[in-house]
């Protein structure tokens, strides 16, 4: 299996785009960090390693990484788009606590299968899906309510 770095380089090369130090640094930081970073948060982290980097480059690179299939945008309904590394990772959805923002990755074959069937029943070819479960986690429930 190719490394994410290779995948990115190949994607760029295939579109006559260039592999620059900034792009490498951004991918590298994102992979090391993992998790669910917003562009802003990623920018801050990247800036620590190269203070001359610009915000726009981070946004532009995130777009490329998404197109190359290396990362996935997430929407936790708080106004910012977050990203998570998705290359080589099994797909999963998110269970989010509405009180503390904590979130757990979930995966359920029953649901995945039904989604595929449902799309088919309507004649659709399913490309991707997003599922977010919002609730209250055990810790927050104990605290109040």
């Amino acid at each position: 299996m190719k490394s994410p770095q290779e995948v990115f380089a190949d994607y760029l090369a295939g579109k006559n785009l260039k592999t620059t130090p900034q792009r490498r640094l951004i991918l590298d930081t994102l992979l090391k960090q993992g998790g669910h970073l917003s562009s802003e948060e990623l920018y801050a982290k990247v800036k620590k390693r190269d203070s001359s980097i610009g915000q726009a480059t981070v946004y532009r690179t995130l777009k490329l990484l998404n197109e190359s299939g290396l990362i996935e945008p997430l929407d936790f309904a708080d106004g910012v788009t977050r990203y998570e590394p998705s290359y080589g990772e099994e797909h999963h959805d998110h269970l989010i606590c509405e009180r503390c923002g904590n979130n757990i990755e979930i995966l359920d074959k029953t649901i995945e299968n039904r989604q595929e069937e449902l799309a088919k029943e309507h004649g659709f070819t399913l490309v991707r899906h997003k599922m977010y479960l919002y609730g209250v986690c055990p810790e927050c429930r104990k605290k109040k309510g």
Copy 2:
């Protein structure tokens, strides 16, 4: 069952807020229109009936309507938040065509039940969920690819 207008009036009264002509007009327009309106689109429709109304009032009222449980925000991943009337309506999810933007409302008990179970398995109390299936509709598939 209470009418949406009553629900809204009760919600406002309960918070010592006021039932104004603007708020009534916005709710009324939204209900008559149904569907998946963005704030911008709703503002345009409302303005036809009362040209003196302001954008901000529409945003503020949408927030109140959401809190009162009358409408539901939707995210079709196109940068704008849309709203749909949800009071007295059975919950449903959305199957969206990535090419033409057309979308179909779907509901599946198997999935709904599994979601509830999944949350429970992690100790969460499920409050709500969002599921979007993105694909290509039959018409668009015929046209190309």
